[in-house]
Amino acid sequence: MSPTLVILLVGSCVAASCALVGSFLVLRKMALMGDAISHAVLPGIAIAFLLTGDRSPLPMIIGAGALGVLTVFLVELFHRSGRLQEDASIGVVFPALFSIGVIVISRYAAQVDLDLDCVLYGEIAYTPWDTLSWGDHNLGPKALWVSGGTLLLNLALVFGLFKELKVSTFDPELGAALGFSSVALHYILMSAVSVTVVGAFESVGAILVVAMLVVPPATAYLLTDRLATMIWLGAAFGVASALGGYWLARWWDASIAGAMATVAGALFVGAMVLSPRHGLLARALGRWRGARRMDGQLVMLHLEKGRHPLPLATLVQRFGWRRTRLDRTLRELEAAGWVRRQKGGVALTDEGAEALERSGQDRLAHHLSPA
């Protein structure tokens, strides 16, 4: 397998598995638990490393997973005690755990190859050469096994518990009434987040895991109202960020993981501007169209049918508009056949009168209809 392919595959697996669980984090307003877990697992990794003496993935994943669950537990504990808000609870727990991790590493593991930089921003470029072997057999890149395994695990979780997760995310009370334990689901989801974070740690690093957990699902959330669509769209955006980031990094000769996060951010801004329903452009266009429709109706309301044309000068005076605005509005109304220019001004046509009445009824119906 070519190194490029390995990097692309690892990046895609990480991005997709992050999006699978990240979608729920975004919807449950727990995006920052991913951030907290990704930092707080450091002591787990350090301790697993100290106990086993090497960097084999399984003990590290177990150690980090345990710390991830501990983080969730502590955040809940402080929050539930009623003495700290949830955000403050997150903000005090993860720096404390991270500090313990840094101290453990710098006191006991400084000489060995557990580089803080690597933990924080990862180095996906090295993954093709860090291979797993079984006896004499070379089983291929370690990161590919880890990220592929994480992806399968998360796929199993989302497929297996889709309905439960969906109900408990959107309507926790209904979930409780149907007999799902929201606490159990919370911990299952958070365990999955922990495993995902740890699995992705070595390749993309702590902070960029947060990017993959949060940004692609948020991008998808701007484009759809359906959970299933959001999840697969988020995964697609994640994979697109991974692929795009790789090429960007090759081009600029820069950090691959950093470039992936940058591309993910660019995709988010793109969706923020261009989303057909929630986008800034669509909404600005909608407001602009609405304003022009208002202009047209305002003019029509001031005109009378048939015989008594109103001089343009009077309209300009009444509205205090610039002449160009009036001309444009009149042009549109004329094109629709709703007003007619006559000698001495403009007047409403029969069709125009009808249209005006119809729009009045529409508006009335709109106001009367329940929401």
Partner: protein, 433 residues
């Protein structure tokens, strides 16, 4: 361990103490405004600014790096605000996006700089992980100036910032320029974050803001005191942490500071008066015990009342049945009552003393008056009111009971037709308050 600190170490101590005080001050506002993690995002967002500051100015001087961080931090904050206002994305996700994307872009720039002929990035990654040991006297001097400016601003706008921390909507209705104050507060926060980056690093900056504030919050209800205490805790943790790091080998400064302030927080959560978890547990236990004692007296009272014999000796076994309590539980409730002269014990059976009878009457009186109140005023059925009265009898004050009685027109029997003990004979025996 040597108590002779080198000049460099004293410098570091001073810097860490200053940062702690600043972080504690601004963190109090962030904590109360539920923006604890904004500082985290701003710290990460500063990285690309540091890199751009270097790329544009071409020097690793503090000023361009600092300005770059400031501008990038503000842009990050603006982006968070814009995302929340203009899209359906919620605050936590917006913070997560800014934090990770800005940091990712920063790393791209950092790796780019690394490959430039001019650029080992050693001065730049000080901003990432913080190396308090490299603090120079100039750095500390700059921190002092900026810190003084921040503190003066906080003092000048204290009233406005206070209102913003508790009820921004109310502030807006009073005509405060809420938006501009938000920007001011964010600006101050960014300054403190950027000042702190060099000392404790990106990851731990959030702790210098929030942990002292969260600890201080446990001790007081007043903003001014909270800020003072938070600044003191921050400064103390900074000083002690930096000192520990200077004297104990291989103990990094930032983590040492954070662990000390975290310990203060845990102690505050447990021991602070009023809000402390330990005191709350203690209060709860005391209340439970009092309720058990009062229930025991009341049960005895009712058993005597049923048999119309106030000298009855009641065996514990009989009382165990009333509330399904075990013998040791009952004995634990009875012991202080015997010591207080409210119960007499004879051969494992108990009898109310006159004093005990008066105390029991007081409880029974509350119970029956409350039951009557519920049936009369809320028109609840008489078989629905017992459980509610079971709870109220332990919390009604004597004054409330007197008023209740007056409102009910000094009734003589409860909804079940049992007599309500009268008030005067309490005073005669001197019931417990």
């Amino acid at each position: 361990m040597s108590f002779e600190l080198t000049f460099a170490a004293r410098n570091v101590l001073l810097g860490a103490g200053l940062l702690g005080a600043l972080g504690g001050t601004l963190g109090s506002f962030a904590f109360l405004r539920r923006q604890s993690l904004l500082g985290d995002a701003l710290a990460h967002a500063a990285l690309p600014g540091v890199c751009l500051g270097f790329l544009i100015s071409g020097v690793k001087a503090p000023l361009p790096l600092f300005l770059g961080a400031l501008v990038a931090g503000l842009l990050g904050a603006l982006f968070i605000l814009a995302t929340i206002r203009l899209t359906r994305i919620k605050e936590d996700t917006a913070i997560g996006i800014v934090l990770s994307v800005f940091f990712g872009a920063g790393i791209v720039l950092l790796t780019h700089i690394q490959k430039l002929p001019t650029g080992n990035q050693s001065g730049l990654d000080r901003f990432l992980f913080g190396q308090a040991a490299t603090l120079l006297p100039e750095d500390v001097a700059r921190m002092s100036w900026l810190g003084a400016a921040v503190l003066v601003t906080v003092l000048l706008f204290y009233k406005e910032l206070k209102l913003m921390s508790f009820d921004a909507d109310f502030g807006a209705s009073l005509g405060f320029p809420v938006r501009r104050l938000e920007v001011l507060l964010t600006l101050l926060l960014v300054v403190v974050v950027v000042v702190g980056l060099q000392t404790v690093g990106v990851v731990l900056i959030v702790a210098t803001l929030i942990t002292p504030a969260a600890a201080a919050r446990q001790w007081t209800e007043r903003l001014g005191r909270m800020i003072g205490l938070s600044a003191a805790i921050g400064a103390g943790a900074g000083l002690v942490g930096a000192y520990a790091s200077a004297t104990i080998p291989k103990l990094p400064t930032g983590p040492a500071i954070v662990l000390i302030s975290s310990s203060v927080l845990v102690a505050s959560l447990l021991f602070a008066p009023n809000r402390g978890i330990l005191w709350a547990m203690l209060r709860e236990r005391r209340l439970t015990r009092r309720i058990r004692r009062e229930n025991l007296l009341k049960d005895l009272y009712r058993l005597c009342e049923d048999r119309d014999d106030w000298n009855l000796l009641l065996p514990a076994v009989l009382l165990m049945g009333v509330r399904g309590q075990s013998a040791p539980q009952l004995a634990r409730s009875a012991r202080p009552l015997i010591a207080g002269g409210e119960l007499e014990e004879r051969d494992g059976a108990w009898r109310l003393t006159p004093r005990g009878k008066a105390e029991a009457a007081r409880v029974v009186r509350k119970h029956r008056l409350w039951e009557l109140y519920l049936t009369r005023k809320l028109e609840l059925a008489s078989d629905h009111v017992h459980r509610d009265a079971e709870a109220m009898e332990h919390v009604l004050t004597d004054r409330a009971v007197a008023e209740l009685e007056a409102r009910l027109g000094f009734p003589e029997t409860d909804p079940h037709g049992r007599p309500i003990p009268a008030a005067p004979d309490l005073a005669a025996v001197g019931g417990r308050p």
